[in-house]
Point group: D3
Chain length 150, copies 6
């Protein structure tokens, strides 16, 4: 069951030593994959998978650097990291990526209300259009997840 | 002592009822002022004060809306709110405002390491220039605060 | 008839005293609603209404702050305010919101030619892609309004 | 006297036929120069002049296209054009250029209050940091002009 | 045949003297049209053509300034100019325009691999979302061109 | 002599095998350092060095990912890569980083005129303020390099 794979990946991450200079790219890719699975209920992430065939370097950079190096760092708990990421993507108007990370946040137990609070807050640094667009994307996400559960 | 005023303001905030439709702008301004003092060790915030004489509406909008309405909302704990704000300001390249909110974060107990983690994360949504600029601003902030303590 | 509601709302706005510190949020919301109706031929605005159920704070912030506090200010005549807003939204690439405010502008008597002039001007601060995208959105708006009149 | 040169340039602009396909670049440069002088109290504009020696194409493009082609278009009155430009530059965070065009606005009779209103409005499309930065730049401009008059 | 028209336009461009102060707008428009045809396999460009009827000034500014003045300049070879443009559009998130210029690049002999390299590079100045979006747009472009050849 | 170290680093880069999955982070850091030295006349890069003590992860990410993984890729010749990077940084308004990469471009034989051409081109995707700011930064760079040679 998906949930089991998610838990397994989370355990794998805990068991993995911190990134170090002797890390190979292979290990960083594995760590990045474990990050995705622990955030994405055990399944691969669609935007990342799409890139593998035609843009292999970008898929690897996303998996090894963004996920394997950055996202696996222990100095920020997952919940805070996801909410800070949602704030950044929303402020930048990067709706697709905000949606992905908001989904990860919900998967790890962040509430819909907390995500809305971040979007409300985004009116201040980024203005109303970015926040309103983010709210529409969150609305879509919540709705899709409710349907998927039926 | 400053710290006492900060605690007093935090208590005042707790005692204040949530924002409601019967709220007057006067009450929203008071709440916004309490938010600043609880985040800023009890003292007014310089960027806000500068605006009062020549741009009164903007000072009021910042105090009543941004601080009084948004920042006082209870649905997100202060630590997460400040870190999400730092992420948004950093991603947007708004260094001055990132510095203000990073200072607030430190005032309420967030560590320098957690702030660095947010800046590291910003390389992903916003690229390396924004993250590097943010790191220089954080470095400045940490340094100024160390000097101020001497 | 719609036009009558628009005129009524405009008269209501004139009759309302300026925003003041004793204003309640309730009054600011009413003023915001009057602003929308006076700009939008008497009918509610779709993007705003969509948010009411799931993102009530954002709907209120838009109505009370953006519309009730900012947009009702008398220091700038409606025509200039709308054209300046169109310029800002266009420069930022916020096409949806530019379209809304360009529609308001047309409703209050600004000509299609004046809107085109603003879009031409946007090439200078924001470059050709933003201006060209804005021209495509204006084209859509003009076309939809012509159809609606048939 | 400067004012006389400004009036002369404005008259020259009125006397010049609209841009047409037979226009030479030479004529567009002359028109652009007349636009600057009519907006800038008869004197050349510093940012433009700085570019002439080392970046001649950019100086020409600014003078012939931005000023000669766009800024001289009659379809938008000067006051509205300047205020829309101020809104766009402020929303984009382009403080230097906002300052130049706000100065032009004041030169042609726009009031300080109207410029402040545009900056207040910018909180909505672009957020508070952009508007607050714009207010600080306007404050600088107003202050420098007051000193210059003494 | 298209290819012949593209070659003819390229020859025409070579035969045309450099832009000069005596250039008429008419000549700049002709040069801009020659630039498009030499980059676009001899056929007009769709985004530009769409604007001619309703936004004639913007169509002319694009053709005379962007294409006729800037894009025809000899100081940068076509390949480098197109790749630099792709980098700029991709970094800005201007996917539609990036696609147009990536198409031009392919038309003049730039390889798919070189375009991918530019997109990989964009992760550094602009972050992963912009680069990933650009990769999706390039993927679309490559795919459409393969289909068109069948 | 600096030049010798630059040549040595370039030779080292040629001798190094392409990035591969078995690469350790250590090797990627070495490659990144070689990239900097080959572009920067053999000396370390100041912005990168500043980060090492207080933001070690960011310094490593810049050196290993941005420089070691991306910048060392062979699919784009150095000259094109640098000019595309200058275009991207300039379009984004990232003047400090544009200056660094423009410096690298000059170090590897790109001419001042070619850099100016890229800046002229940036008016189209990003507007005149970004291009004018970039021209001022290039002017500073050219001037500082001339002084350094005396």
């Amino acid at each position: 069951m998906r949930f089991d794979t998610g838990i397994f990946a989370a355990l794998l991450l805990c068991a993995m030593p911190l990134a170090a200079a002797a890390d190979t790219t292979e290990e960083r890719l594995i760590r990045g994959d474990a990050v995705v699975r622990s955030l994405n209920n055990g399944v691969p992430q669609q935007t990342l998978e799409r890139m593998r065939e035609e843009f292999p370097f970008l898929a690897e950079a996303t998996e090894a650097y963004a996920l394997g190096d950055v996202w696996s760092r222990p100095g920020l708990d997952n919940r805070t990291r996801q909410l800070a990421a949602v704030a950044a993507f929303a402020a930048l108007g990067e709706r697709v990526f905000m949606k992905v990370h908001a989904g990860y946040a919900l998967n790890i137990g962040v509430s819909e209300e907390e995500l809305k609070e971040v979007v409300y807050m985004v009116t201040v640094p980024a203005g109303f259009p970015k926040a309103i667009a983010a709210s529409q994307t969150l609305s879509e996400l919540f709705s899709q997840r409710r349907e998927a559960q039926q």
